[in-house]
Structures are given as C-alpha cells and as structure tokens.
Subunit: 153 residues, 2 copies
C-alpha cells in the first residue's frame, strides 16, 4: 500500500450535531453547551486533538521498535488554543484555526537522552496527523443542491 483514501459520510442531526459514518463506526460530533447544544459528544476540535494523540501513539511505538527503545506507560497529552472571533463572524486578524498545539509525551524508558531526542524527531516527521495539521493541506469544498422528493398522499 502507498496511497490510501479515508472517508467519512456525515449526516447533520442538528445545528451542531453530526453523525460521521466511517467504514466500521459511527462518530457522533457535538458542541459544548456554551455553544448552544446538548454536549452529548466531543466537539470537532477535540476529535482533532484526539486524532493527533492517537497518531503520535502509533508512530511512537513503531519508531521505538525500530530504534530498539523500550517505552512503557506512554501518555500523550495534547492541547491547543484558538481564537473564536473569526468563527463567530467578528472582525479579527487572528486565524480561525488553532494558533498553536502542544503535544506532551510522557514515557517510562531507560533509553539514553540522545536516543530519545532522535525518537521524538522521527515521530514528528512521520506522524500523518501531525503533518496534516502542521503543514498546509489542500482542502476543496464543493456544494451540491439536494432535491427533496415530495410525496403526495
């Protein structure tokens, strides 16, 4: 495998709730109460951060094996700050997305500092989600008008 395509089919359930169907799962997306909904599921940006943590976990283990580093008790905390002004339609010079994201990895290991620095730097390069968020990914939005069938009874 080289090129792989991933997709989700999202059905809007309300102004803030969406059910995203993957090949095998449903991911319910919602917003906190402060944004006016029921807070029944994580928010879009929380899923982004969780995806980043999950991806770092996979790459961290993969690269640790390659470098013959033993790591255990891996903890990956991710946080990001964004300015909501643009999202809310207020005038701002800030971007809409995360201004910065911090990934803090904690691991129990007896590897040398030198090996750990190498480990971290390879994780950073090879993590698909880190690269997606950190680089510029071309995103195209397209719109199709849906015709609602009318049933006359």
């Amino acid at each position: 495998m080289s090129n792989l395509t991933f997709s989700v089919s999202g059905q809007s359930l309300s102004q803030t709730q969406l059910n995203a169907r993957t090949l095998d799962f449903n991911i319910l997306v919602d917003q906190p109460e402060s944004f006016g909904d029921r807070n029944e599921a994580p928010s879009p940006v929380e899923y982004i951060l969780a995806g980043l943590a999950g991806c770092v976990n996979v790459v961290a283990h993969l690269v640790a094996d390659e470098l013959q580093i033993k790591v255990s008790n891996l903890r990956i905390d991710v946080s990001g700050t964004l300015n909501t002004d643009k999202f809310l339609g207020k005038f701002t010079l800030e971007r809409a997305g995360f201004l910065s994201i911090f990934v803090n990895i904690k691991a129990a290991t007896d590897a040398s500092d030198e090996k750990l620095t190498k480990w971290l730097s390879i994780i950073e390069t090879r993590c698909p989600v880190k690269d997606t968020l950190g680089g510029s990914t071309p995103i195209s939005l397209s719109l199709k008008r849906k015709v609602l069938e009318k049933y006359c009874v």
Copy 2:
C-alpha cells in the same frame, strides 16, 4: 470568549490503541486490522475527517442563519488521500499527511446560486478545523521521562 484552549489527555492502551479523555468524554482511537490491531474504534485520520465534517456542519448552519438561507437535510462527506510510505519509514518525497482533502456538502435549499456561493466561501473562511488542517499550525512536541515507582513486596 476569544481565546479558548481545548485539551485531551491520552493514555496509550497498546501499540495502536489510545484513550483520549476530554473534559466530558472518552475517545477511543484504534487502527484498522491491516495496521495490526483490533479495529475496535476509528483511526486517528478518521477522527480528523469526522472533526472536519462536524465543524463544517456547525459553521454551515451559523452562516446560513446570518445570510437568511434555509438549508435542510445537510450531508457532509469528507475524504482524504495520504501516502503511507513516510509513516512506514520508507524513502519517499511525499509528505506524511493528507495530500488532499475533499469536502462535499449536499443541502436541500431554495436559496439562489449566488447566495450559496457566498455561503460556501464564508464557511471555508470561518471553519476552525478547515483552517487548522488547511493552514500551517505550529505544533510543539515535548518529551518527559516518567519515573515508574517500584513497589517491593
């Protein structure tokens, strides 16, 4: 509110599984069987795409209200292609992350084409997740060695 910080605490459960704890929820992240795990939850990249669909849903409704457009039956399908070579440590000139992402919105609406074009263009600008994935977000990775306590019994 202007600046908001979101965070998840991720606990690695295996080489591919991670539980990301948000303020109110647990997000289980896994990998497909083809990557060697149990496929018990969506993958990191599927969460990224679901987060994008969920965010577009929120902004689409927000902006439709502002433009006084009625939309219903909103469906937001998102797909992205990535090359797995870099992730797997093979030599490649391709990036690790998504090469491109497509967002297809379907909506039942009687708004004019002109208004819909404006709608789409504002969604694109104001969606925090679209802006995060599409722009360059500074991401810092840091590492802390964890000391495992030893219990002698």
